[in-house]
């Protein structure tokens, strides 16, 4: 990747963050200051840009937009480590903004750390469930187009090159504020100068630190049968929960819809407020739409407390020509002698 590319990517993200922040952050907007710094960056007057940014930050040291711009200045000035540290801090404080992840990825890629760049980009996509869905859909489309091109290359019957990909439809456009950041963070706006001051979307999500999603405890079972001491019981139950997770991954790999769907509890809450039926339908089309799937779980950790448990792992997912690796958490409940999934959390 050339330096011109790096710059181009940084800039495209720079503009969008300004807009997002203008929409999202509930503090006075000093658009003129941002525009000035932005203009100086574009004119490649880095030292002037930096001193202006520093002046501003002396008054408002926590301002995310100006800190972001400062990161861009450092990056453009070749001060990669300083830039990385700025974007990393921003990520810690605002984990739901995709732009710092993107810029961090650009910097990692520029220094040859492609695995870190990949992780960072995956995080950027995961800041918004819609991105992840769009990304997965795009992956399916690329794979399908590739199949078609290969079929033409090899003069195969085009109708023979696998099924049409079933794409997941995003079913909920308007979620309550706070449940996700605005969808209008897509970095498509050309410049700050042309970015309208009017909000693009009425949906304005305040930046809030995300609540931890890990279930750490569950109600103490009152009528728990305790044949074994709790520690032993929990260890055995932990094995059972892990086996259940592995069985779930196998059913998914085998495209065994019956076994796969029966891994989920009656109380399972489908994502995006889908109904259970709609979710099952979507899973069916997505899983059966693939010619082959391989799901591998590694780095599995299990926490069990009575009849509830949390299984965390790294999920290697391969489907046809798509391959992704992500972290996943399954919240489970014991029902009879089976462990069933009540919640499935990515990231």
């Amino acid at each position: 990747m050339t330096s011109t590319h790096t710059k181009a990517h940084l800039h495209s993200t720079l503009c969008s963050l300004l807009l997002v922040s203008a929409l999202v952050v509930s503090q006075p907007v000093f658009a003129d200051d941002y525009a000035d710094v932005n203009r100086l960056i574009k004119a490649n007057q880095m030292s002037e840009a930096l001193s202006k940014a520093d002046q501003y930050l002396a008054l408002k040291p926590r301002d995310p937009q100006m800190r972001f711009l400062r990161g861009v200045i450092q990056s453009d000035s070749g001060k990669t480590n300083e830039a990385i540290s700025i974007f990393s801090r921003l990520i810690e404080e605002y984990p739901e903004l995709p732009e710092p992840y993107n810029n961090l990825a650009v910097l990692y890629a520029g220094s040859g750390q492609f695995d870190k760049a990949r992780t960072s980009l995956e995080m950027a996509i995961r800041t918004n469930p819609s991105y992840a869905t769009a990304h997965e859909n795009l992956g399916d489309i690329y794979a399908k187009l590739a199949s078609q091109a290969y079929a033409k290359a090899l003069q195969l019957d085009a109708s023979n090159t696998g099924v049409v990909p079933k794409l997941a439809l995003i079913r909920d456009l308007f979620l309550p504020a706070g449940s996700r950041p605005s969808v209008n963070v897509k970095p498509t706006l050309p410049t700050v100068a042309t970015a309208p001051a009017t909000p693009v979307s009425p949906v304005v999500a305040p930046i809030q630190p995300k609540a931890p999603t890990v279930v750490t405890a569950s109600p103490n079972g009152i009528n728990q049968p305790s044949v074994a001491p709790p520690a032993v019981s929990n260890a055995l139950a932990g094995q059972d929960a892990e086996s259940a997770a592995l069985a779930w991954a196998k059913a998914w790999s085998d495209r065994d819809m019956k076994a796969y769907l029966s891994s989920y509890s009656q109380d399972f809450s489908p994502p995006h407020k889908q109904t259970r039926a709609a979710w099952e339908e979507e899973r069916k089309s997505r899983i059966m739409g693939k010619a082959r799937i391989a799901v591998k779980l590694t780095e599995i950790t299990v926490k069990v407390n009575g009849t509830t448990g949390v299984v965390k792992f790294k999920q290697d997912y391969k489907a046809d020509s798509l391959a992704t690796t992500s972290r996943k958490t399954l919240e489970m409940v014991k029902s009879g002698d089976r462990w069933l999934i009540t919640k499935e959390i990515s990231g």
Binding site: M1, A146, Y150, T161, L322, A323
Partner: protein, 424 residues
Amino acid sequence: MFRFLRCLAACLAVSFLSDGAWLSDSWAQTRTGQKSRAAKARSNATVNYEAEARLIEVYRLIGAGKSREALGLSSQLVADFPHFQLAQLIHGDLLSLQTKPIKTFGDIPATMNKNGTVAALTELREESVQRFRALRDRPQAGTVPSQLLGLSTRNKHVIAVDASKSRLYLLSNSPQGLHLVADFYISVGKSGISKYLEGDLKTPLGIYYLTTPIDPKLLAPLYGGGALPINYPNPFDLRLGKTGSGIWLHGSPPERYSRQPKSTDGCIVLANPDLQKLMATVAIKTTPVIIASQLQWLTPVQLQPERRQFEASLDAWRAAKNNGQAELLYSFYAADFNNYGRTLKDWWPSVAQSLKMAHRRPFQWHEVAVLLWRTEPGSKNPNVMVVTYDEYSPGIKQPTTKRQYWVQAGNQWKIFFEGAIATS
């Protein structure tokens, strides 16, 4: 993605492409003005170089690590040339690259890995290698195929085929000398080269001439709308007992832009735009077609000693003829001489007759072309000179165009075929 791209570049062995310095001017021209280029491709099916030059540009961008630009160009390329299989293959890889690492050039999904696709993939990879080889090892400026000892002004063009590179070179001949006009990827016989027998699926090697073209209306779609037959088997082939016929330069079927390097029944097959260009350029009968396992490119100066050595024999033959020295002249002809089936004994009286008048009005020779059919490596066949000329016989105003085949035996050159040839 960056890492994956580097792998694809390595798979293609295109790293040397990144500077683009080896590209000749004609390639460079097609690299500019992308928009007009695509429009031109649609409006004019005979755009020369077009598809291959654009494919190479895609490779170059991959070599330079610019996968997105490469994907943009490959998208346009397959839109303009949907039957260009090799372009589809690289396009497929560039699309796959958006979602996963590419392990090999033509990284098809496992689900497509069925009977037949392995062979098809191998052939496309070979086509890629062959196109590259030809573009990397360009003939040096000022050199000509070593068969071309001398041409007449009537030979406006020469076609030279290098089977080792799957390449056809089109040269133009003018008072300023020979120069390379264009070169195209070609396919040869399924069983390779050095045709000997009818049905052996091989492409002949040697010195040929274009004969009467086939009326495109009579051609099956397989031939891609045009065919330029060559005179296989020629007198030397017949002398060696070779069989077979119907060796043509022709186009590709509608469903394929180009064919695999070894895929024909013995013909030389071009992409249709390339064949159209060739048909629009060359004259029949007077265009030599050299087919060699590997062409050797030399400067005219380097070819001079061989030319002079043979010209001595040719001059001695002329002198014997104009001096009326029948016995000496007879010694120039091989015992197995042949004139369209006539033996030397049958043919000689007509020669002896013409000699009688030569002392009063001598023979004249014009438009002499001398091509050396070099012994192929590993072949026991001798060198053969193919000499074409206009002969003015005593007392006859109109010249006759004749062709001789001389065979080398030690230091001696002997004529084993001489006869008039059709000129139109």
